[in-house]
Structure formats: structure tokens, C-alpha cells
Amino acid sequence: MATLEQTTEDILQLAASHFKVSRADLSPTDDLFVKLGINSLQALDLLTRIEQHFHIELPDYELQGVSDFRTLAERIQSRL
């Protein structure tokens, strides 16, 4: 199973690719909504990418209270 660090890195790469930002500009503790400047609709797109990449289902309500990439990675880890 992937480590938390690996999962976090995968999310950062996915986010950078999907929202066309440099991976180097993102860090695990960044507030993803603020850093990426995304709304709920764009967050859903990211969620779909995450589900496809990790082959998991992550209900959108699991994103409640998630602000940074590392916490998101923890939620994903619990589904792997």
C-alpha cells in the first residue's frame, strides 16, 4: 500500500496537472481551495480525478473540513 507521503505527492501532481499550475508551487500543507483558487465545481472535478487515479470512491462529504493536501491524502489512505 502507498505511504501517506506517496499519496500526498500523487495528489499534488494530480492537482498541478488538472489545474495547470506548477507542482513546485504546491506543498502538502497548502490550503488547496485557496492555493488553487477553486470553487466547489472544480473541487468535484479534482475529486473525480482522484477517484480515477486511486481506483477508490471518496464521497464528497469526506472533503468537508479538508483544507490541506495532506489531510486529503489521509482521507484517501483510509479508502485504499
Partner: protein, 270 residues
């Protein structure tokens, strides 16, 4: 093109008949194609014309912009209800639902092959619209959701009975009671979506599917459709009653007000 126009003077519904296949495009991208009165009326007229046109064998429904359809235009619904006195709201919402149900039932039972080609947000009334179609073909980035419970309501455009017609009751409960969204792959795995396509390919695949069905005897295809896809009239009626009973509660008004006052595209998420 249909004559109905939105605020931006663009038709709210685009139509194009080609080789017996009518493509209807929900065209309110700035509102994620939310179903307002004008779009519903245009959809109704288009379906009526298509059903009466011997040169039309199939209808494809798609959406312009970033998603298929975000559902009912809640801003319009809220604003219209606010223009009414409290005692007038229940009859008005019932009238609104009756009109929507007539459109949905006409589409559901139309003597045509109907295919929803969906992408992005396919939520609430948009999901319910897709469920009236014979087949749903989904772009891999499509998401399906019944968010109504987040507003203190239930789906009101026939969604629960039609979803129950197509998938198991446990799936209906999951989607209805959690209000969570599911992706296209999950929707296909539960039997809701017939085909999942690459990004941007749903309409092309829907056209190919309509062409395939068009090779068969039309009368037989429609007889088969009506045999296997009965309209759940009794449950649809009960859904209207339940929606109306819930709608006039203060919690719903508060939920709708919060929605209207938000600037986010989908303020009820996550």
C-alpha cells in the same frame, strides 16, 4: 433553433435534426444549464414536435458548457415563491411540479429513442432529466447527485421513482439519503449508465448508439421500449404530494435562501 430566449438572448435550447436524430442542447451554460421555466417550456415543445415528426427517430439530450445540468433553477424558484403570499406558495409549487412532470413523462414515453449524453455535473433535476431517457451515456468526468436533502427537500421531477425503476433500492437510498455524488464509473457499475466515454466523447458515442438503434424496425424498437420502461405513475404522483408537503416548511425556505445568496456554483457541496 427554438425561439425561447434567455437573458443573454441566446436560445435556451438548441436543436439540430440530422439523419433522423434530433440533438437537443441545454443552453444556459452560465447557470450550468439549470432548468428554468423557459428551458422547460422549450424542452416540452421540442419533444412534442419530435414525437409528431415521422422524420425523427431519436432524440439526444446534451448540455452546453461545463456540465450537463445542475438541476432546477433554484434561484428562479425561490424568487418566484417570494413574490407570492404564503398561502399561494403551495398551489404554485404544485402547478410548477405538474408542468415539469408532464414534460418528463412526455420525454419518458416518447415514441422515439432517447439518449442523454452527459458530462460534468448531472445533478438534481438534471439527473432526473437523464433518467427519463432510454439510455445514459456518460463522459468519464460526469458526476451524478441528488443534493435535494441538503436543502430539506426530495427530488421533485420524478427522480426517485425513475431511479428505483432502473437500479436497486439500496442504491436509491444511498444517493438520496447521503446526497453524495458518484462518478460515471460508479454509475455504470450500478447499472445506471450504459456506456462511459473518454472526456468530450459522450455526444459522439450517443450519436453512434442512436445510429445503431436506428437500423432496427422503429415500430418494434418503440414497442420494446414501452414494454420494458413503464412510467411509474403512482409513485410519481406520491412524489409530488411529498415534495409539496415539504416545500412550504421554513427549513426549505432557509435552505433556498442560503443557496440563492451564495456565489458558489454548487453552494450545497461538499
Amino acid at each position: 433553433m427554438t425561439a425561447e430566449a434567455s437573458v443573454s438572448a441566446e436560445p435556451v435550447l438548441l436543436d439540430k435534426l440530422e439523419a433522423g436524430v434530433l440533438t437537443l442542447t441545454l443552453n444556459r451554460p452560465e447557470r450550468l444549464n439549470a432548468l428554468n421555466a423557459a428551458l422547460t417550456q422549450a424542452l416540452s415543445a421540442a419533444v412534442e414536435r419530435a414525437a409528431a415528426d415521422p422524420g425523427c427517430r431519436a432524440v439526444l439530450i446534451t448540455g452546453a458548457g461545463r456540465g450537463f445540468c445542475a438541476g432546477a433553477d433554484l434561484r428562479e424558484l425561490y424568487e418566484r415563491s417570494q413574490e407570492l403570499r404564503a398561502a399561494e406558495r403551495a398551489p404554485a409549487v404544485r402547478d410548477f411540479l405538474e408542468r415539469i412532470h408532464r414534460v418528463m413523462n412526455a420525454l419518458d414515453s416518447a415514441p422515439l429513442t432517447t439518449i442523454a449524453a452527459v458530462h460534468g455535473v448531472t445533478f438534481g433535476g438534471g439527473f432526473e432529466l437523464a433518467l427519463t431517457c432510454d439510455l445514459i451515456i456518460a463522459d468519464k468526468m460526469a458526476r451524478f447527485c441528488f443534493p435535494e436533502l441538503r436543502l430539506g427537500l426530495i427530488p421533485g421531477f420524478g427522480g426517485i421513482p425513475r431511479l428505483k425503476r432502473d437500479v436497486g433500492n439500496a442504491v436509491v437510498r444511498d444517493l438520496l439519503l447521503t446526497g453524495r455524488s458518484i462518478n460515471a464509473a460508479k454509475a455504470q457499475s450500478v447499472g445506471l449508465v450504459s456506456q462511459v466515454t473518454a472526456e468530450g466523447d459522450a455526444l459522439r458515442v450517443a450519436r453512434a448508439t442512436a445510429a445503431q438503434i436506428g437500423k432496427f424496425d422503429h415500430e418494434t424498437a418503440i414497442a420494446a421500449k414501452h414494454f420494458i420502461k413503464p412510467i411509474p405513475h403512482e409513485e410519481l404522483r406520491r412524489e409530488i404530494e411529498l415534495f409539496c408537503a415539504l416545500f412550504t416548511r421554513p427549513a426549505v425556505e432557509a435552505g433556498l435562501r442560503k443557496f440563492v445568496e451564495s456565489t458558489d456554483a454548487l453552494p450545497y457541496l461538499p
